[in-house]
């Protein structure tokens, strides 16, 4: 049942404790949201889950397998994909190429030197599927650098989807996206529910309470509460530490 299991995870930057004994259990198929104020350590947590950063202590299990010491590429190949809060794309590549490359990582060897990759239909077809899921299919031939901010956010999602993950770590996919575009994005995430196990970092409370099966609240690197959206909303600890802040602001 437990897809991603994190226990006793800690990380320090000098004197600063950014991840403080985090224990987290993400069950198969659920959408688990992690909320918390700015600087709470959400991105640092994602970085440790994805393998970009090594924790100082603690362990991470994916489907019961200890992945704490595996590199980021190894984890991705085991089915743990992430998107970035700050967009990371290949600016000189087209949108389609950005996504096709993520498909290629999972399909066959990349030590092929002669056949033109642009003509590999299976790669392009799978890439088009991911673009459709992210709502970018009509941008396929554009250069990634030419996209708008909102389109960049959707490309982030499409690339992560194209790796065919079991677990999807989404670090503020809606960052900087507003209005109708955000609503569309939330609907797309909702339609992906069940197909993937998702860990969603998000600031937008509306989005979180609309999407999440369970919510964990991270404050100063520590998980202070985990529960259903209703439980979190009414939790007095959370209200004073986090939601109260929002209401006061």
């Amino acid at each position: 049942m437990s897809r991603l299991h994190v226990s006793g995870l800690s990380k320090h930057f000098g004197a600063l404790t950014v991840t403080n004994d985090v224990t987290l259990d993400v069950t198969s198929g659920e959408l688990h949201a992690i909320i918390g104020p700015n600087g709470a350590g959400k991105t640092t947590l994602v970085a440790q889950l994805s393998g970009e950063l090594r924790p100082d202590s603690g362990s991470i299990l994916l489907d019961g397998r200890d992945i704490t010491d595996l590199s980021m590429p190894r984890r991705v190949r085991l089915g743990l994909a992430r998107s970035f809060q700050i967009t990371q794309v290949l600016p000189g590549f087209t949108v389609l190429e950005n996504v096709a490359l993520a498909v290629q990582a999972r399909q066959g060897s990349s030590f092929r030197f002669f056949a033109p990759v642009g003509q590999e239909a299976p790669l392009n077809d799978a890439a088009h599927d991911a673009l459709r899921d992210a709502g970018l299919e009509d941008r396929a031939v554009l250069q990634a650098a030419a996209l708008s901010h909102g389109e960049h956010r959707r490309l982030e999602l499409a690339i992560a989807l194209a790796t065919q993950p079991k677990v999807l770590l989404l670090d503020e996919p809606l960052a900087g996206v507003g209005g109708a575009e955000a609503e569309d994005f939330i609907a797309r995430l909702k339609s992906l529910k069940g197909r993937f196990t998702m860990v969603l970092i998000e600031h937008d409370m509306e989005a979180v309470f609309a999407l999440a099966d369970r919510v964990s609240v991270l404050v100063y690197g520590q998980i202070i509460a985990t529960g259903t959206p209703e439980q979190i909303r009414s939790d007095p600890k959370v209200r004073s530490a986090y939601l109260g802040e929002e209401e006061g602001a």
């Binding site: 980021m72 991705v76 993520a102 056949a115 990759v117």
Partner: protein
């Protein structure tokens, strides 16, 4: 992808134009009654191969190797050493040169690729110098002074390359074949991964690629191709010395690639032509040609950071 296709077609078109010009060059030299030009032409074509091989890692892989002249040395010394043992066959010499280059590239590349950026440049320079001093210490092959080659390499047991024109066209054919090879590589699966690492390393890791093995493979391929240029240069000069692998030479190779426009392959070929012609011309006009060459480079970088390719693109773009 539309933009990508167009760029692709341009790369091939530019290369074909250059190859056509190269092909008609020898008859022209004869018409001008100056067959010595053919030897200069052969030198340019051999450097074009080396510059193109360097562009494969510099332009497409963002690996600025400052020790690439070492591979010219491996090629040149493969000719000198093997022919001193009576093995004069060009194909055998090239295979041995590439094997030596591959081993050196594999070992030094594996170490150098632990670093990035300026550190990568410095460590490849250091390895290049190690190779330089190693060949300088080979007293059986003239040490510092180098050694002359009594005759050129043979092909199919015959002295086909003895004539300057035959050597020129052999070099041209190899340039064309290796261009086709590099062109295929950069648009293959492997090439897309290599270029992706240049574009955004973190993104590539986050979709499951471990950059090291791809970069190292490209580094080895580039070293092998550069050694082919070394074999040809030894035949052109009929002389081999450590000067082939001095760090100046490594710098010149980088200049050729940057001058032509990085990451274009055909630009590197044009860059080799431009750099060596400028060197010849300025050398005739003044003994301070290096200074003027430097001035030219600075102007080039200021006005067209993307090299000759970029300048041409600007001019065409302005017209239409």
């Amino acid at each position: 992808m539309i933009a990508q296709r167009a760029r692709l077609a341009t790369r091939v078109k530019v290369a074909l134009i250059l190859f056509a010009l190269f092909a008609v060059f020898p008859p022209l030299a004869f018409a001008l009654n100056d067959p010595f030009l053919i030897l200069i032409g052969t030198r340019i074509l051999a450097y074009a191969i080396a510059a193109m091989a360097l562009d494969l890692i510099l332009g497409f892989g963002a690996m600025v190797s400052f020790g690439h002249a070492a591979y010219l040395g491996f090629g040149a010394y493969a000719v000198a050493i093997l022919s001193s043992y009576g093995i004069s066959d060009l194909v055998v010499q090239m295979v041995v040169a590439m094997l030596g280059a591959a081993i050196f590239a594999l070992v030094t590349g594996a170490i150098s690729l632990r670093t990035q950026g300026v550190y990568f440049i410095m460590i490849t320079l250091a390895f290049g110098q190690m190779a330089f001093f190693f060949f300088t210490s080979l007293s059986a092959y003239g040490g510092d002074d180098g050694v002359g080659l009594p005759q050129r390499s043979t092909l199919f047991g015959r002295d086909i390359l003895g004539g300057d024109t035959a050597l020129y066209y052999t070099t041209l054919v190899l340039l064309m074949v290796l261009f086709a090879l590099c062109h295929m590589i950069v648009r293959s699966r492997f090439g897309r991964v290599l270029t992706g690492i240049r574009e955004n390393r973190l993104r590539m890791e986050a979709i499951g690629f471990a950059p090291f093995r791809y970069q190292l493979t490209a580094f080895v391929i580039s070293g092998c191709l550069t050694s082919v240029a070394g074999v040809l240069l030894a035949n052109q000069a009929q002389f081999v010395s450590p000067a082939f692998m001095s760090w100046h030479r490594s710098g010149e190779l980088i200049v050729m690639v940057v001058l032509g426009g990085i990451g274009t392959l055909s630009g590197a070929i044009g860059g080799a032509v431009a750099a060596l012609l400028l060197e010849e011309l300025l050398g005739m006009l003044t003994e301070h040609w290096r200074l003027w060459f430097g001035v030219f480079l600075v102007l080039m970088v200021l006005f067209s950071p993307r090299g000759i390719t970029g300048a041409i693109r600007q001019i065409i773009g302005r017209k239409t």
